[in-house]
């Protein structure tokens, strides 16, 4: 078929462009699976404790909604109930970004036009993108299964876990391919596909939370039947391994891919099926400055993060009460959470642990927001700096939005967690202030990563994407599983988050926060100085 001519070459090109990003995704998700599995294998070695934990999880709607389907009380099944959902969402996110990057983003930047004029078939770019995404998911599935086998779990259930992850990732790759046909911008396509992932997550959450509980097993409600993530969970790894759920996933993949190819054949290169509405012919007051421009370019990302943080924080607050029960019923969990959170009352320890995770995630926002610097440099920065806008002023605009975003997101996370917890427990309203303050304690560490991104942008602009995300992934992994893996203290201390007081359970001392702020400022200053001195382009 001539429509596919050149697919092999485009696939190789895509793999080359992704030679850093995809390995980072695969390594991060695999380590997450492995680290979580190890912590459960060690923390719940006692079957009675494990069963108690599983029964509590199965009987708490909020835990079900945010952690995933509970099915069985073997070690493997317990692991699946805690990590499978995150892995499914992670695979879907990796797929979306990969497919959009190699389809719509290429069209938006005009690269596709160049490719289209070479002897390349009409369907080759989409095919190549799907091949790369599917390949990455297959590798992820195998790695995830091997990580579980390495923890001494049965091969059958580990394979089922891996297959669920790969199957879900591939299905969302096909859905992202549709999104890439509909919109004419890569950001909008990513947003649409992210909305699909969010909807699938929520539908499944509602289904799981409203399901029937039979001992250590939950039969999800009908809402879960509407969600591909809900289907994938129903493979129930280590609890029967119901391979049959692969069929609907495969059917969805085939249908979505066929739809994407049909849509691609009906539209012009560069155009989207959802028409672009005309916009304002004049710039508003707010846009007419470097800061206004930075806000306009960044606000979409920030808004997306606010929504995500509210949803996740509501979940964290909602399960707080139940976590207190779980912790009280298990020495091992109390111990594990205590290690993450530093001791104190179980609920406070839980909040300290989740807020630490939020702190790292919000640093991820800062890193994502500051990728804009490099995007702009590859785009319209040159004519902007040829106006009376100096380099520091332009850079400061973007940094200000990113830094203010960090503070806003942390405050929103703390306040939402506290409000929902208070509402769920019918009291404890004063905790809202405490948790907001506790969340904000994470700000200096998150700003260290922002400062690092600015420094990298000034000193090593060509590598900024790769190294900032690599450092972020390292911080995430060190924080989540560094202690469980018994890494040496020197390695753990490399992450700024290792120095953050574990509020609200541990007392807040000023010294580490001051030092982190100074480090963030020094990194930022280094970035500004280097950016003033280097060539643009």
């Amino acid at each position: 078929m001539t429509g596919l001519a050149g697919t092999r070459r485009l696939t190789r090109l895509a793999l080359r462009r992704d030679r850093v990003q995809l390995p980072v995704w695969l390594a991060a998700l695999t380590l997450l699976e492995y680290g979580s599995a190890v912590s459960i294998v060690e923390g719940y070695a006692d079957p009675a404790e494990r069963t108690a934990f599983v029964v509590t999880s199965a009987n708490n709607a909020a835990l079900l909604a945010f952690n995933g389907l509970v099915s069985g009380d073997s070690v493997g099944a317990t692991i699946a109930s805690q990590v499978l959902l995150i892995m499914l969402v992670g695979a879907a996110a990796m797929s979306t970004l990969t497919v959009v990057r190699h389809t719509r983003q290429n069209e938006e930047t005009g690269r596709a036009e160049l490719i289209g004029s070479a002897p390349v078939g009409r369907h080759a770019p989409l095919t190549a993108a799907l091949i790369v995404a599917a390949g990455a998911n297959l590798v992820l599935g195998v790695l995830a299964a091997l990580a579980l086998v390495a923890c001494g779990l049965p091969a059958g259930g580990s394979a089922a876990s891996g297959v669920a992850v790969a199957g879900t990732g591939i299905a969302f790759a096909a859905l992202a391919a549709i999104a890439a046909q509909l919109t004419s911008g890569a950001r909008a396509a990513n947003g649409l596909a992210a909305a699909a992932i969010g909807a699938a997550f929520l539908l499944r959450g509602v289904g799981d939370a409203t399901g029937d509980v039979r001992g250590v097993r939950v039969d999800p409600g009908w809402a879960s039947d509407l969600s591909p993530i809900g289907w994938a969970q129903r493979i129930r790894p280590y609890d029967g391994d119901h391979w049959i759920v692969l069929l609907p996933l495969l059917a969805l993949t085939a249908a979505a891919a066929a739809a994407a190819f049909a849509l691609a054949a009906r539209r012009d290169l560069g155009a989207g099926l959802l028409a672009d509405r005309p916009g304002p012919p004049r710039a508003g007051r707010g846009l007419r400055s470097p800061l206004g421009l930075a806000w306009r370019l960044q606000r979409g990302v920030l808004l997306g993060w606010v929504v995500a943080v509210v949803v996740v924080a509501a979940g964290m607050g909602g399960v707080g009460d139940a976590v207190g029960d779980v912790v009280a019923s298990s020495d091992a969990v109390a111990d594990a959470i205590g290690r993450l959170g530093g001791g104190g009352s179980p609920v406070d320890a839980y909040f300290a642990a989740v807020l630490s995770l939020v702190g790292v995630a919000v640093a991820g926002y800062a890193v994502q927001a500051l990728q804009r610097l490099r995007t702009e440099e590859g785009g319209p920065l040159e004519p902007v700096l040829a106006t009376a806008t100096g380099r520091p002023r332009w850079l400061a605009g973007h940094l200000l939005i990113a830094a203010a975003g960090v503070v806003l997101l942390l405050a929103v996370a703390g306040a939402t967690t506290g409000l929902v917890y208070a509402a769920a427990t019918g009291g404890n309203w004063h905790l809202t202030g405490t948790l907001t303050a506790a969340a904000l304690v994470r700000a200096p560490a998150a700003l260290v990563l922002a400062g690092f991104a600015v420094a990298a942008f000034g000193l090593l602009p060509r590598l900024v994407t790769a190294i900032t995300w690599a450092v972020f992934a390292a911080c995430l992994l060190l924080g989540q599983i560094g202690q469980l893996l018994n890494l040496p203290a020197a390695v753990l201390d490399a992450s700024p988050f290792s120095h953050v007081p574990a509020a609200p359970v541990a007392p807040v001392t000023a010294a580490p926060l001051v030092v982190l702020t100074v480090v963030a400022a020094a990194l930022t200053a280094t970035g500004f100085a280097a950016f003033r001195r280097r060539d643009i382009g």
């Binding site: 004049r282 040159e382 700096l385 009376a388 643009i536």
Partner: protein, 295 residues
Amino acid sequence: MTPVIDIAGLVKTFGTTRALDGLDLSVEPGEVHGFLGPNGSGKSTTIRVLLGLLRADGGRAALFGADPWRDAVALHRRLAYVPGDVNLWPNLTGGEAIDLFGALRGGLDETRRARLLDAFDLDPAKRCRTYSKGNRQKVALVAALAADVELYVLDEPTSGLDPLMEATFTDCVRELRDAGRTVLLSSHILAEVEKLCDRVSIIRAGRNVEAGTLAELRHLTRTAVSADTERPVTGLAGLPGVHDARVTGTRVAFDVETAALESALRHLLPFGVRALTSTPPTLEELFLRHYAGAR
């Protein structure tokens, strides 16, 4: 009077590539200066040094008598720039981008903005991602030409424009010249520069090959003529200013220097001219002819 642009011995290297290799360029106030060179010869690099976007490795570059690297912000209030490769924000409309550039520069002339949008037939309510290359170019042109400044730096400003819009652009530059503004116009098309420029600098591989007024550079511009005659043409090769005369039967083709064009045509007439075409030389042909192996 201090020159608006004064560059001497400019050197810029990218790794092992020597993009500028001792380049000179001088532009006087009120002149439209053509900056000619084939692709990759260093025009955009020179302009980026002038705008303080790149730091020179050697030589001297002055803009309005000041250092373009150190005094970038102050100098930029006095100039407007159209980049060689126009990138805009996909989510902003063309009108928003024009206003934004205007505001960042310190204001734009509202009547000029309206007139230019009309002249270039540009819809300012469309998102930049939906514009074609030509329309993106128009956004950059309107944003720059609507500014009321002393110097306009235009890097291959007509790439992507159709002939009608090229004519509109030509009119705009003539207006600027009549208003006494200075224009640096880079191009790789000789004919475009001939139409508009008072003086021309020609560069190749980061070095000057010629500079002067168009009259001084006339010896460079040969016209390629081919004709169909009733009788075979004779005696053409001996004429002054005629080169590469080739006669095959009743077809004749030759290159002629602009100054000798009239005498060459007179020579043809007695042979009964049935058809005649003439093409101005492209810059590439000119380089092939004059500077082959000049590297």
